[in-house]
């Protein structure tokens, strides 16, 4: 089996120590795996992703890329992690799309030509070359989303964490995203309510419920278990639901 890149042993994550949002969580993700993180609203998906980046406090053993998630290691860990936040407005902070995508490469000290190359590549992969010189705060919700994803691609991270990547995307952009995800060899942990997207991009699923992991296993097995999904306030992906025949005029 390939090497483990994310490992959690009996961790709890909390905003206030007395009330942990997640507790007694254990799992490991191997290099190159794509894992879907699903669960009802408030089940702690965003919290877990934040904790892996060291943005939210946790207790217990948590290792990312072989390093323990603690203050001294954070710069090193964050170099390897790309994190698409749930709220695009929180992610973008520079005036133009170009600058925002170039922020990480510039910070990592790349030369101007390399920065240019990485940004162009990220814009091309997300299909948003036309937005390059636009102002971030004047974009539509879905356009912002694609820019957020491009900012992460330009970092060339080893591990990608995405929080609701497909939210606000139109079907075409959602498809671009799925194709991108499928083509990416990196380790991915994707939190989403878009179960069809998870089914298409992930081979494994972790289902969160009641502060912990309710199920962890093969994506197709979990995503076809209607009773299990229902008990966690979810439902079957649309592709497994009853097909409504097209009405013909």
């Amino acid at each position: 089996m390939s090497k483990i890149v994310i490992e959690c042993q009996d961790i709890s994550c909390y905003y206030e120590k007395a009330k942990p949002v997640l507790s007694n969580l254990s799992f490991a993700i191997h290099e190159g795996e794509s894992v879907g993180l699903i669960g009802a609203n408030g089940s702690g998906k965003s919290t877990l992703l934040g904790a892996l980046c060291g943005l939210i406090s946790h207790e217990g053993v948590m290792q990312v890329a072989g390093l323990s998630v603690e203050k001294v290691n954070l710069p090193e860990i964050r170099k390897k992690l790309g994190y698409v936040m749930q709220d695009s407005d929180n992610q973008l902070f520079l005036p133009t799309v170009y600058d925002d995508i170039a922020f990480a490469p510039r910070n990592y000290g790349l030369s101007a030509e390399d920065v240019e190359r990485m940004v162009t590549e990220a814009l091309r992969r997300t299909g948003i070359e036309h937005l390059k010189d636009r102002q971030n705060y004047k974009l539509s919700g879905g356009e912002k989303r694609m820019v957020c994803i491009a900012t992460i691609l330009a970092m060339q991270p080893e591990i990608i964490l995405m929080d609701e990547p497909s939210i606000t995307l139109d079907p075409y952009n959602r498809r671009t995203l799925i194709q991108n995800l499928q083509a990416m060899p990196e380790t991915k942990l994707i939190a989403s309510h878009d179960l069809d997207l998870i089914l298409e991009t992930c081979e494994r699923v972790i289902l969160l419920d009641e502060h912990g992991i309710k199920a962890d296993g093969d994506a197709e097995v979990i995503l076809t278990d209607e009773a299990l999904l229902k008990s966690c306030r979810l439902e079957l992906p649309y592709c497994y639901q009853k097909v409504v025949p097209l009405k013909k005029g």
Binding site: C53, L55, L74, P75, R78, K79, L81, G82, Y83, M85, D87, D89, N90, Q91, L92, F93, L94, P95, T96, F103, A104, R106, N107, Y108, G109, S111, A112, Q135, Y137, T151, M155
Partner: protein, 253 residues
């Protein structure tokens, strides 16, 4: 503001450090004029005007953007003419008091300083100013705080805008925010913008920000930068210490 700093002109392209130092020198010199040296202050207007001309930003943009701050500047000196009525000269029926002169001096100083600062931010962008500050070995912590504060203020304004529209949509019959809601409105405004500022800072950290400004690291000071700096500083000092207005006056006597 950030939009303006995207324009391209000779002044925009100057090295941020040059612009920062010249602006600081200019403001320091303007403030150093004694209270009654109205005649000396007038020629100082030249520098911002040159700067605005070089940058292609109309001076009126500055006054338009700063329209809420300008009255505050006037307010600082407003009591002078009332408190100090010692007459210094008479123009026909009008007696000009020492207080009026010092009021106008203060007003001019304020306006000049604002014009110069606006020009700096509008042509340089906050990141580059921070970079210039780091070149001067100002501690990381202070510079990062400045950057975050600047971003925080724009956040605060945009959050306030969002909340006001959301309020207005659900209270269509009302003009503005009802005074009873001000408390909770302000409270959640503060909390919300603090949360967003934290999230944005986290997003910066996630992408390798550690208080260093790598942006302009490649750009070196070049000969035109140095020349402009020497020339600018020389002129500022010249106007400060040579009473140009008096000299011109003497020409005609």
């Amino acid at each position: 503001m950030d939009e303006l700093s995207r324009l391209d002109s000779f002044y925009h392209r100057l090295h941020p450090l040059v612009k920062l130092l010249l602006t600081i020198a200019y403001i320091a010199v303007v403030l150093s004029f004694p209270v009654r040296s109205l005649a000396g202050l007038f020629p100082m207007l030249l520098f911002p005007l040159i700067g605005y001309a070089l940058s292609g930003i109309p001076v009126r943009t500055c006054f338009y953007r700063l329209r809420y701050i300008l009255p505050l500047v006037a307010f600082v000196g407003i009591w002078n003419p009332i408190l100090n009525r010692t007459p210094v000269m008479t123009l026909g029926a009008l007696t000009i008091s020492a207080g009026m002169i010092s009021f106008i001096t203060l007003l001019l100083k304020g306006i000049y300083a604002l014009m110069a600062s606006f020009l700096l931010i509008a042509t340089t962008g906050i990141e580059n100013i921070c970079y210039a500050l780091r070149c001067l070995h100002i501690p990381k912590l202070l510079v990062t705080t400045l950057l975050i504060t600047y971003r925080y203020i724009s956040l605060l304004l945009s959050e306030a805008g969002t909340m006001a529209s959301s309020y207005a949509l659900r209270a269509p019959n009302q003009k503005g925010v009802h005074y009873k809601a001000w408390g909770s409105f302000l409270g959640s405004l503060l909390l919300r913008s603090m949360d967003r500022a934290t999230a944005l800072y986290q997003s910066m950290q996630m992408r390798g920000f550690s208080g260093d400004f790598y942006y302009t690291k490649g750009t070196r000071m070049q000969t035109p930068d140095v020349l402009f700096f020497v020339l600018g500083l020389g002129l500022i000092l010249l106007v400060r210490f040579v009473p140009i207005a008096t000299l011109i006056g003497q020409l005609f006597v």
